[in-house]
């Protein structure tokens, strides 16, 4: 009975969020004098020919891979009650260094790709490690230090790109690193479409999709099935209780930030190894910030984040066709924004409801289990104690 009820509230929250988001978006589209039904139709219309349809799928998946990794990086820290806003800087630093190293060495295929991945993860972890060290030794809030480090990362990446790692000829309008050799390029997954009997899309499906899936599974197992994952979640739920039961909160902060940063280091690689083959001034920026939204929407669970990333990518794909239908592409951003906002609010409401119900039923007995998946944003005050 209670389990059923609890399930009801947890499902009601996202459902409500989606309804609210749809209503608000509809209102906005009506307000700008367009037909909301047209917009919805564009969202689900993947094209006329089979090749166009598979291409739409490629676009969605290719967009979802970096978003998923970004969401995962943010969520690992979230679960522990750490707000890693520095994912943006971590992946930029990681990508530029990895691109530079990758272009400088000669190695056989798989090893070359592996080396680039290891370098990217190491740099991302190092950059995030600065935040962790500042927090455990000096008590600097990770929110402040990671934001500040974003600016430093932008400047440093720019210095590396225009200075030591510059590969593009003098005078070229886009500055890039040296192009990666063929051995460092991650093969595309387009064979998959042939194997499934689907039409070949025009673009390339990032082979890095496989890596993202593996990383997702590893993180999932790490969080749910290991001692470390238990410590991490316990510290996230109640730092004081965790410390009392013998968990070293400081060490946990450092470890968690290193893992978060290492995952963040991978964010730029789908693009780097699968499309651009170099880091340049026009390399996609902002994924780190999008990752925060994706993590919130996915409620910090790897599977949820996968869905959230796919949903974001699905909406992003519509940005171009919407404009063909004379609807501004900003509609997509509005939908994404309202969904995230609604989910956060709905989560909080359902948490309160569960809490009140639990309180009513059992007086001062066990705290509600629903807290385990509550939004990280609601525990900002609780985690202040963690690093102190």
């Amino acid at each position: 009975m209670t389990a059923l009820r609890r399930l009801g509230t947890s499902l009601a929250a996202p459902a409500l969020a989606v309804v609210v988001a749809l209503v608000i978006t509809t209102l906005v589209i009506v307000l700008i004098g367009q037909n909301p039904l047209t917009a919805l139709q564009v969202l689900v219309d993947f094209g006329d020919t089979p090749a166009q349809q598979t291409q739409a799928i490629v676009v969605i998946l290719n967009r979802a891979v970096p978003l998923f990794l970004a969401g995962l990086a943010v969520s690992v820290a979230f679960r522990m009650g750490l707000f890693n806003i520095g994912v943006e800087g971590q992946y930029r630093m990681a990508t530029v260094v990895a691109a530079g190293v990758g272009a400088a060495v000669v190695l056989p295929g798989p090893l070359h790709v592996l080396l680039i991945m290891v370098v990217a993860m190491a740099v991302g972890a190092l950059w995030a490690g600065i935040v962790a060290v500042l927090k455990v030794t000096r008590g600097v809030s990770e929110v402040i230090s990671s934001i500040m480090l974003n600016f430093i990362a932008l400047g440093t990446a720019s210095f590396l790109l225009t200075g030591p790692l510059r590969g593009s000829p003098e005078g070229a309008s886009i500055i890039t690193t040296e192009r990666l050799p063929a051995s460092a390029q991650f093969p595309a997954l387009n064979g998959l479409f042939g194997a499934l009997g689907l039409a070949q899309p025009r673009g390339q499906l990032f082979g890095f999709l496989l890596v993202a899936v593996v990383v997702g599974i590893v993180v999932s197992v790490l969080l749910k099935r290991t001692r470390f994952g238990f410590d991490l979640r316990a510290t996230g739920l109640s730092p004081s209780a965790a410390t009392a039961s013998g968990i070293d909160a400081r060490r946990m902060v450092v470890k968690t930030m290193l893992i978060s940063g290492a995952i963040a280091g991978l964010i730029g690689l789908p693009d780097l190894l699968g499309r651009t083959y170099s880091f340049g001034t026009e390399f996609t920026a902002g994924l780190g910030f999008l990752g925060i939204a994706v993590a919130l929407l996915g409620r910090n669970s790897p599977l949820g984040i996968a869905f959230a990333a796919l949903l974001f990518a699905f909406l992003d794909r519509a940005a171009v066709p919407l404009q063909f239908a004379d609807i501004p592409a900003s509609v997509v951003t509005i939908i994404q924004g309202t969904i995230v906002l609604s989910v956060v609010i709905a989560n909080e409401v359902s948490r309160q409801v569960t809490k009140r119900r639990a309180g009513r039923q059992s007086g001062q007995a066990t705290p509600p289990a629903a807290d385990a998946t509550g939004p990280a944003g609601t525990r900002i005050d609780a985690r202040q104690e963690a690093g102190a």
């Binding site: 996202p14 749809l22 919805l40 689900v44 026009e282 949820g304």
Partner: protein, 348 residues
């Protein structure tokens, strides 16, 4: 629990989307695939900032509209998403939908257009601010280039002639090779008039971070600093951030020089008083000329069309009449550039 929630979320969205699918088939009018006779179907893909930037994206639109007025036809405009990760999609979808010519605005399309253009050999592409003289981007791409350094040189001349403190400033949006051309020309122009003039140079964001083109606050802050350091004229090549430079000029009671379009014409009255001149980069003319050439079947591809002083592609605006008294001297320098007596540097 979380899994179920996420599933439901995705599911209900898809359901809602499907439900509306049938009803709305009549609602989508727009551009059918079949071309209506000889009418031009022009595809225009913007750079970040998109339409309404009061700068070169809008200038490109003006060029397309002028061409349509003259030749007839229609235009489909596409803006990239916020992080511009879908630039390639913009071009392919325009080409796939049968738009021809397809015009990409901005040097950021360099790599993308080189990927897309060869896939659509029957479509004619043009790239504003991108070179294709060597044909590396494909035989069907024309580069529309500008000699920004020449126009900026004249802006430097005007600034050096008008300064009373012997100190002028340059605010660049993003430290990139393109904006460095503005800086190089401006500094060279100012020094050509007066070798002792001090030129303060500052960029709003480093290479790779495009926030400098859309950050008026930062533009204002940097310009304020320059005015406090003794500059009395600041030239900006910072897109939307220029707004802040003008505000700083108004507050300091000093002057500023606009960029790309004649910014005097779109500025509020208080700023008109401080916008001494604007360095014009006639993207509109270049785009219009390209479309006209296309309509007349004269586009060769794998070439660059360079718009410089000799073609009127760059120059200074005179709105407001603030530089009328030095028009002769400016013209003198312009003539020297045209005659080849002065070669303006493109890198600082």
């Amino acid at each position: 629990m979380t899994k179920a929630a996420a599933l439901l979320l995705a599911g209900s969205l898809a359901l809602a989307a499907c439900a509306s699918d049938e009803e709305s088939s009549s609602a989508s009018g727009g551009s059918g695939g079949s071309g209506g006779g000889e009418d031009l179907k022009i595809g225009l893909a913007f750079d970040t900032g998109g339409r309404g930037d009061q700068s070169f994206n809008d200038s490109a639109v003006a060029g397309v509209e002028a061409a349509i007025e003259e030749l007839g036809g229609e235009v489909q405009e596409l803006s990239p998403n916020d992080d511009a990760s879908n630039r390639g999609e913009l071009l392919t979808q325009l080409a796939e939908a049968g738009y021809n010519p397809v015009i990409a605005v901005g040097f950021n399309y360099d790599e993308v257009i080189a990927e897309v253009a060869p896939q659509f050999p029957d479509t004619t592409f043009a790239q504003v601010d991108g070179s294709n003289a060597d044909g590396a981007k494909g035989d069907n791409v024309t580069g529309l280039l500008f000699a920004e350094e020449q126009g900026s040189f004249l802006a430097g001349v005007a600034a050096a002639l008008k300064t009373e403190t012997n100190n002028v400033g340059f605010v660049g949006g993003v430290e990139s090779p393109l904006i460095e051309k503005f800086q190089a020309g401006f500094a060279a122009g100012a020094e050509a008039v007066n070798p002792d003039v001090e030129v303060q140079v500052q960029y709003l964001s480093p290479a790779g971070d495009f926030s400098g083109f859309g950050d008026p606050q930062k533009g204002k802050l940097v310009a304020q600093g320059m005015y406090q350091n003794g500059a009395d004229i600041v030239f900006h090549a910072a897109g939307g951030s220029g707004e802040g430079v003008f505000e700083a000029a108004v507050e300091a009671g000093k002057r500023a020089i606009g960029v790309d379009s004649d910014q005097y014409l779109t500025a509020p009255a208080d700023q008109q008083a401080v916008i001494m001149t604007s360095m014009l980069k006639r993207v509109d003319n270049a785009v219009q000329a390209f479309i006209k050439a296309y309509a007349e079947g004269e586009v060769e591809g794998a070439t660059d069309v360079t718009n410089d002083l000799s073609t009127g592609g760059v120059g200074l605006s005179t709105s407001g009449g603030y530089i009328d008294d030095i028009a002769d001297q400016i013209e003198e320098f312009e003539q020297q550039i045209l005659d080849g007596e002065i070669t303006v540097p493109t890198t600082p």
